[in-house]
């Protein structure tokens, strides 16, 4: 059976969003490591550059406003869980999930379950 054009597109985007989610998670990890290391000229807040790398500085500022130093907790929240940030890990996984739903019959059962487990697992932790 040949593949629908839409199926091919959705599969591509599903995987691309998974990639982005993973890349962003790594980026966050790097940013976190750097923030633990004293930089040139003393301890500096590297979180701002993490936001810039993630193309999320504008959305962060729109949400939290300008400040002398960005708040690490908020950055993590914004980049990981914020559904309002279209580049967040959560948003990417949601997009991957929705792309997957539309092409359900093109995914193997393992793929389908894995998709559900991963995307279902990323929710902001409750305090």
């Amino acid at each position: 059976m040949t593949m629908l054009g839409r199926t091919a597109a959705s599969l591509f985007w599903m995987c691309r969003y998974m990639e982005r989610a993973e890349n962003l998670a790594r980026l966050l990890e790097v940013g976190y490591r750097i923030s633990l290391t004293p930089g040139i000229g003393g301890h500096r807040n590297e979180w701002r550059s993490t936001l810039v790398s993630a193309a999320s500085l504008d959305s962060y500022l729109a949400r939290y406003g300008e400040a002398e130093e960005v708040d690490p907790q908020r950055v993590v929240q914004h980049l990981l869980f914020d559904p309002g940030n279209s580049s967040s890990v959560h948003a990417c996984l949601e997009a991957a999930r929705n792309n997957g739903r539309g092409v359900r019959t093109a995914l193997t059962r393992d793929m389908w379950e894995g998709r559900g487990k991963t995307t279902g697992g990323v929710e902001a932790p409750r305090p």
Partner: protein, 464 residues
């Protein structure tokens, strides 16, 4: 499961004995096992209007509902007679309307009905079949008494639950299937495909290409659309995957366009084709209906079948069966009062707290009143509604629906059930043995619809 005298009815002999041996803990573990199986399979049901992420499982009860071979044979005969009459009625309604000329049904009931599609007039679909896939809702009120509660001829759903329920039961209780002869339901997708291919349009030469046309991932029955397409080995398409060119329907594939011959559509008539029906529809295909009338594509079920599953027409079913088959109906209707008729309205208003009132065009268990269970305020409200638009309602007596044991929070307890066998009409007429049993999970409740908290059971038809 038990007779009036407390004796275990014959079909339940094995299961009854087995149930007696189970502890609550064991049954609970089995139910958790079922939940896991269903989650893995991803059978979810989206409820419109639900606030949170709207995918959830339909509750499944692990205790099967069992019918004997003899009981089933009697039901089969009645179902077959009924669906043949319904298709004959549809053919008549869209051609000479003999039944109206003979004065058996008032003309207004048909032409004023929203589901009646004048656009289908004077057109005969392949093999003269209008409703290829039908779900007949049955209830049992006595050891030998079944009534048809409702017919579903538009886009009946639930067959995927029937199939997955069976799958889950076979995994959890293989010993039962090994020791009893339980009629198989697994061939439904195969039969469905054969049915669809059998009604290929006249313009189709060679092997027909079938697709399942879904409104999309946000539709509450999306799982079923994907499931059936997958099981049949055909494409699942959305309207945007299809287009018409040179009098042919095509789908867009990675290798260019491919012709489509039969569309199993799970989209309502209204949204099928913005050129003929609702112009604001984003779900259908522009020009599909014209192509259909030109005999270049087949739509299943045909547009316009809703006229036959309307609750107002339902009350005329006995006449309809007799008119087209020459026989009295083998399967009865629930006695129904048409509130649009003054005498009926008077009776209904006098007995409101004993009756079930339903909207003629309602579905899913919404917009109805269960008299005996209603508060004074609800009764008063319905009284007003009835007086304002009597023609919008029918009334039926509350039936003593049969119950079946279910594994509830407080152990095994009786819960009301209904039954939806599925019928396929194409190259042959086939009825799934059993079908989907829906169960009202709340104690004493008569509402089995999944959108209102109902659940399902596997249905076993024992072979002789």
């Amino acid at each position: 499961m038990v007779e009036a005298g407390g004796e275990l009815r014959a079909p339940y002999r094995h299961v009854g004995a087995w149930l007696n041996e189970q502890t609550r803990g064991a049954l609970r573990r089995k139910r958790e096992e079922a939940d896991t199986i269903f989650r893995r399979l991803g059978i979810t049901f989206a409820v419109y209007g639900a606030q949170e992420a709207s995918e959830r499982l339909i509750p499944f009860d692990i205790i099967p509902r069992i019918l004997s071979a003899g009981e089933w044979r009697r039901l089969e005969r009645g179902i077959e007679q009924r669906v043949r009459a319904l298709n004959a009625f549809l053919e008549d309604v869209y051609h000479r309307q003999e039944i109206v000329r003979a004065g058996r049904i008032p003309m207004e009931l048909i032409v004023r009905n929203d589901a009646y599609l004048p656009a289908m007039g004077d057109f005969t679909p392949p093999r003269g079949i209008y409703a290829h896939i039908i779900g007949v809702d049955l209830v049992r009120t006595g050891p030998d008494e079944f009534f048809v509660l409702e017919d579903n001829l538009r886009t009946p759903s639930g067959v995927s639950y029937m199939l997955e329920n069976r799958e889950a039961m076979m995994r959890m209780f293989p010993e039962h299937f090994a020791t009893q002869r339980i009629a198989a339901v697994e061939r439904y997708p195969e039969h469905l495909r054969a049915t669809l291919e059998a009604v290929a349009p006249p313009a189709c030469d060679g092997e027909p290409t079938v697709v399942v046309l879904s409104p999309g991932i946000h539709n509450s029955a999306y799982f079923e659309h994907a499931f059936l397409a997958d099981q049949m080995g055909v494409q699942l398409v959305f309207g945007t995957d299809l287009f018409i060119d040179e009098g042919t329907l095509f789908m867009r594939t990675t290798r260019g366009r491919e012709r489509v011959d039969v569309v199993y559509r799970r989209i309502d008539d209204d949204f099928l084709d913005p050129l003929t029906f609702r112009p604001d529809s984003m779900l259908g295909v522009v020009g599909l209906f014209d192509l259909y009338r030109a005999g270049r594509v087949t739509i299943v079920n045909a547009p316009g079948t809703g006229i036959a599953d309307d609750k107002a027409i339902y009350s005329y079913l006995p006449e309809i069966v007799e008119f087209y088959t020459g026989q009295p109906p083998l399967l009865g209707n629930v006695p129904t009062w048409r509130c649009g008729e003054p005498d009926a309205l008077r009776y209904v208003l006098d007995h409101l707290d004993e009756l079930v009132i339903k909207e003629v065009h309602g579905s899913g268990g919404y917009g109805m009143l269960v008299g005996p269970a209603a508060s004074k305020r609800e009764l008063a409200r319905f009284r007003t509604l009835l007086k304002a638009r009597p023609g919008n309602y029918i009334a039926q007596p509350t039936l003593a629906l049969s119950t079946c044991p279910a594994f509830t929070g407080s152990g095994i307890a009786p819960r009301h059930v209904d039954l939806r066998p599925f019928v396929l009409i194409g190259d042959r007429l086939r009825i799934t043995p059993g079908g989907l049993t829906r169960v009202a999970l709340k104690k004493g409740s008569l509402v089995v619809n999944s959108s209102q908290g109902g659940g399902t059971k596997d249905t076993w038809v024992l072979e002789d």
